[in-house]
């Protein structure tokens, strides 16, 4: 196989990975199907499990919209109302993990806070565009667990910026491509903003993906190797990106992952946030991401993907207190008793992060609290993550 053919197939495999990872049902489908399945379960089974245990245990809030929970409760209460006295009492779990306005979350408005974008969309946590078997990922446990918090969360800020960008149009993608020296291809890209060809590279620009959320991005296939003063993967990746003027303009940390055929260099994105320093960007499952450069064996070409450079506006929004965040995280805990018994996880660390929320013409990077803890279950080490929206719930649309 020629080098070019090798690279072509590598790029195609990468595109297939992306295609399969980003093809997901519409956001409401998961909840709708689950409710349909619940409705078809034998009624006695439903009664035995009990309203509180089922809702608190099965769902790892906040992934389930409150509307779906309300429907589930109606279905289950309708079936179980006459036998409520016999339901097991272990259901301490709340139906939602979000904080209500009664939690006093609205007390943190500071004098400089101007939530000028109005109510924000609620982040959809629990889903990630990345593959579960991605190179670096610790096994992330998605199922129900019982949670305790033993860490220390010290966030003194009463408000944090929310970043917003306008969805790029095809003309923006054209300008970006032109800045790289690429011309539009005659071939249309269904669902993309544009396909472009340049000297020794091809470029695909796509808009925001709603679910799992991913910002507008470039996907560039380098068809030739590049000269680099060093064979070090980071130096090579930097050389590729610099040659295209695609080095990140935002703060980042780097990470290098190696498999048999490919070296992947990741430039993990952060935001500079006054009073907080650099705050990591994570996807809906809590994984950091940014620009990725896959370098083929021997440095013969590369595949680069990352966020399209865009200007961000920002506005301050009041956030919940650390205590409220901890309560909200623990509210997603499964009932501590009952059957089956769930793994017990101690959440030991928490940090502020940013996560993308699609909202149509404009999308947002919203702050969130990311809690995590590690544990072993059936001989395998897992990490459990819980994301809690940081913005005051009264300023989130539900």
């Amino acid at each position: 196989m020629s080098e070019e053919e090798d690279l072509e197939l590598l790029a195609l495999q990468r595109q297939l990975d992306d295609a399969f990872q980003t093809t997901r049902p519409r956001p409401a489908f998961e909840d709708e199907l689950w409710l349909r399945m619940q409705a078809r379960r034998p009624i006695m089974t439903r009664l035995r499990e009990g309203v509180a245990g089922l809702v608190g245990g099965i769902w790892e809030a906040p992934a389930l919209p409150s509307g779906a929970i309300a429907i589930a409760l109606i279905v289950l209460l309708g079936a179980g109302i006459f036998t409520l006295g016999r339901l097991h009492p272990g259901g301490a779990g709340s139906a939602t993990s979000g904080l209500s306005n009664q939690d006093g979350a609205g007390k943190n408005f500071g004098p400089n806070v101007s939530p000028e974008y109005g109510p924000l969309p609620v982040p959809a946590f629990g889903t990630a565009p990345g593959p579960p078997q991605a190179l670096d990922r610790q096994a992330v446990f998605q199922g129900p667990v019982t949670l305790t918090w033993t860490g220390h969360l010290d966030v003194s800020a009463a408000s944090l910026p929310v970043f917003r960008y306008q969805e790029p149009a095809q003309s923006d993608a054209d300008r970006f491509a032109a800045s790289l020296g690429a011309r539009p291809s005659t071939e249309a890209v269904q669902g993309g903003l544009g396909l472009y060809a340049g000297k020794d590279f091809t470029l695909v620009v796509i808009g925001t993906v709603a679910q799992p959320a991913r910002e507008p991005s470039f996907n560039l296939s380098e068809l030739k190797s590049i000269s680099s003063p060093s064979a070090d993967p980071l130096a090579l990746a930097t050389a590729y990106l610099s040659a295209r003027h695609l080095m990140p303009t935002w703060p980042y940390q780097t990470e290098v992952q190696t498999t048999a055929g490919t070296v992947r260099v990741r430039f993990l994105r952060s935001f500079d946030v006054p009073s907080q320093g650099q705050v990591a960007l994570v996807d809906g499952a809590g994984n950091r991401y940014g620009i990725e450069v896959d370098i083929a064996t021997g440095g013969r070409g590369a595949f680069e993907t990352g966020p399209l450079p865009m200007s961000l506006a920002s506005a301050g929004y009041p956030i919940i207190t650390p205590d409220q965040a901890v309560r909200s995280a623990l509210a997603s805990s499964a009932p501590p008793t009952g059957s089956p018994s769930y793994p017990a996880v101690r959440l030991t660390t928490a940090e502020i992060v940013y996560t993308l929320v699609w909202a149509g013409d404009h999308s947002f990077y919203e702050p969130a609290f990311l809690f995590s803890g590690t544990f072993t279950y059936q001989g395998t080490a897992y990490v459990k993550r819980v994301l809690v929206p940081a913005v005051d719930p009264s300023l989130l649309t539900h």
Partner: protein
């Protein structure tokens, strides 16, 4: 139950998206993919009580159900599917914002090419890129791991040729 197999809820949450993508790569509309995916999980939910983890992994079991459901769909709608596939670049109905969001996903066109590959090549690519190992793909397709690799690589080259052909 905990020692034998994960709670069904875990399977549902971890694999709904991947099963949907696997199915979506083979059928021509989101609506069909949703119907088949729903059928897969309905069947799996009902059968999970009888599932024995020592025979196969829950994931391979789930993909086997998905594979059977997709085959059943083609048997039932074979003619209609073939007609649909002959209509290239069918305009999308963007009447529902959430559906529009799904249809905007970046590599829809590539999956359309996958859907037009010969059945076994298509299946090997869809299973492999759904996260299964070649060994698991081989078991599901009743062939050896090496044969699964060969099918996959043939499929990959056929896919590349198909993409090129359209671009000419």
């Amino acid at each position: 139950m905990l020692a034998d197999r994960p709670p069904f809820e875990d399977l549902y949450r971890d694999y709904l998206g991947r099963i949907y993508a696997y199915v979506r790569a083979q059928v021509s509309s989101s609506a069909d993919a949703e119907d088949i995916t729903a059928q897969v999980f309905m069947n799996a939910y009902q059968a999970y009580g009888r599932f024995e983890a020592r025979n196969t992994s829950p994931v391979a079991w789930l993909f086997r159900i998905a594979r059977n459901a997709t085959t059943d769909h083609f048997r039932a709608h074979g003619r209609r599917e073939r007609l649909r596939r002959t209509i290239e670049h069918q305009p999308l109905a963007f009447d529902d914002p959430s559906r529009m969001a799904e249809e905007r996903l970046q590599y829809r066109a590539l999956l359309d090419h996958v859907a037009r590959l010969p059945e076994r090549q298509r299946d090997s690519i869809a299973l492999r890129h759904s996260g299964l190992t070649f060994e698991e793909v081989g078991v599901l397709m009743s062939c050896t791991e090496d044969a699964a690799k060969m099918l996959y690589h043939r499929g990959l080259k056929a896919l590349r040729d198909s993409v090129h052909k359209e671009g000419e």
